[in-house]
């Protein structure tokens, strides 16, 4: 096994393999924005939170199209920060559970890890079904919010993107 659950391939260049897999399975957004280093960072963050890499990549794609330069210094409309658009309530929850990674505001890997942990909390801490976890990540664990139209659109987009990301991750194995 290689790093973060991806089997090693001592005979090949993993970056070249990533390019091939991305060309084969990625859509235009992924081809434009997802880099090998970002992919590996997502794998590391997902492993820390014990979620699938494809789930984290689909969340990141939903939030801001997988752009690695997303620590852009402008908060989102509800005060969201960074690649995973961590909201103030999410920061509160992660702090309360002792999970908030150091440097989550300024370090891409830490921000990805914060997002992965918060997503895992939807199931682990709030008992939200896996089929609604992305909607809850977007809308909050409050059922009145995550069952709303916007959160459900988010869940639908997540489901579609996760299929693509699963193909990409499997290709890298």
């Amino acid at each position: 096994m290689g790093l973060f659950g991806f089997p090693g391939d001592p005979g090949g260049d993993p970056r070249e393999k990533f390019k091939d897999c991305l060309n084969k399975y990625g859509d235009d957004r992924a081809k434009k924005n997802l880099t090998y280093d970002s992919f590996m960072a997502a794998g590391q963050a997902a492993a820390t939170a014990q979620i699938a890499t494809s789930e984290l990549l689909a969340l990141w794609d939903n939030e801001n199209s997988l752009k690695p330069d997303m620590m852009i210094g402008r908060k989102g409309p509800a005060g969201e920060i960074g690649a995973m658009q961590i909201t103030p309530p999410a920061v509160g929850d992660l702090s309360r559970f002792g999970q908030l990674p150091t440097g989550w505001k300024t370090n891409l890997l830490a921000n990805l890890t914060a997002g992965a942990l918060y997503y895992a909390d939807m199931s682990d801490k709030y008992n939200i079904p896996a089929t609604q976890a992305a909607a809850a990540y977007n809308g909050s664990p409050n059922p009145n919010r995550y069952t709303g139209a916007q959160a459900q659109r988010y869940q639908t987009a997540f489901n579609q993107r996760q299929v693509m990301m699963m193909n990409l991750v499997n290709c890298m194995r």
């Binding site: 957004r29 434009k32 939903n62 939030e63 801001n64 199209s65 752009k67 997303m70 620590m71 852009i72 210094g73 402008r74 908060k75 989102g76 409309p77 509800a78 969201e80 960074g82 658009q85 440097g103 505001k105 300024t106 370090n107 891409l108 921000n111 977007n138 916007q150 988010y154």
Partner: protein, 175 residues
């Protein structure tokens, strides 16, 4: 014969001067220019420890509020040296202004001037939102190299310029 030669020489000289003037005199474009999508262009004109002056141009609608701040790169993000200053795009597409540093901070060279346009902060005029969309969906999407997607459904524009020397190393000449 001599007068004819003088006349020809004079006409040639006048033509050369006119051609030179046409080529070297900068000025506004003679016809409206187009861009493939919305853009913001900025320039940090001057820097002093207590103020950075900037100007810029944009084809965003007149009255669109551009937010600018001064920051320094830090890890994958930014360390802010100022708060946002908001300026409107004028009818001619230009804007300008000045940014003070945060309290107990002085500007120095090689900082970054960051400008962005969002539909939610500061509040934009209604006619601007009618044109670009309440969530910025008409800003050109991700084909626009200045566009970023935030919080799933919002689009913003952002661009960066490098702050010039703030007078470091300059000493007052001895009298």
């Amino acid at each position: 014969m001599n007068s004819n030669r003088s006349l020809i020489l004079m006409l040639f000289t006048v033509t050369l001067i006119a051609a030179g003037a046409t080529q070297t005199t900068p000025g506004p474009a003679s016809k409206p220019l187009s861009a493939p999508t919305y853009y913001i262009a900025i320039r940090a004109r001057t820097c002093e420890p207590e103020a950075i002056r900037f100007d810029g141009a944009s084809n965003l609608p007149q009255g669109a509020m551009i937010g600018l701040k001064v920051s320094e790169d830090y890890e994958d993000a930014w360390k802010d040296y100022s708060d946002f200053v908001n300026v409107p795009v004028a009818a001619n597409g230009f804007f300008e202004g000045e940014i003070p540093p945060k309290k107990r901070i002085k500007f120095h060279r090689n900082l970054s001037l960051i400008a962005d346009f969002t539909t939610y902060e500061p509040q934009q005029p209604k006619d601007v939102l009618d044109i670009v969309g309440k969530k910025g969906r008409k800003l050109g999407g991700l084909e626009n190299p200045q566009a970023h997607q935030l919080s799933g459904e919002y689009y913003i524009l952002q661009t960066i310029d490098r702050v010039p020397s703030c007078g470091e190393g300059v000493t007052r000449p001895a009298n």
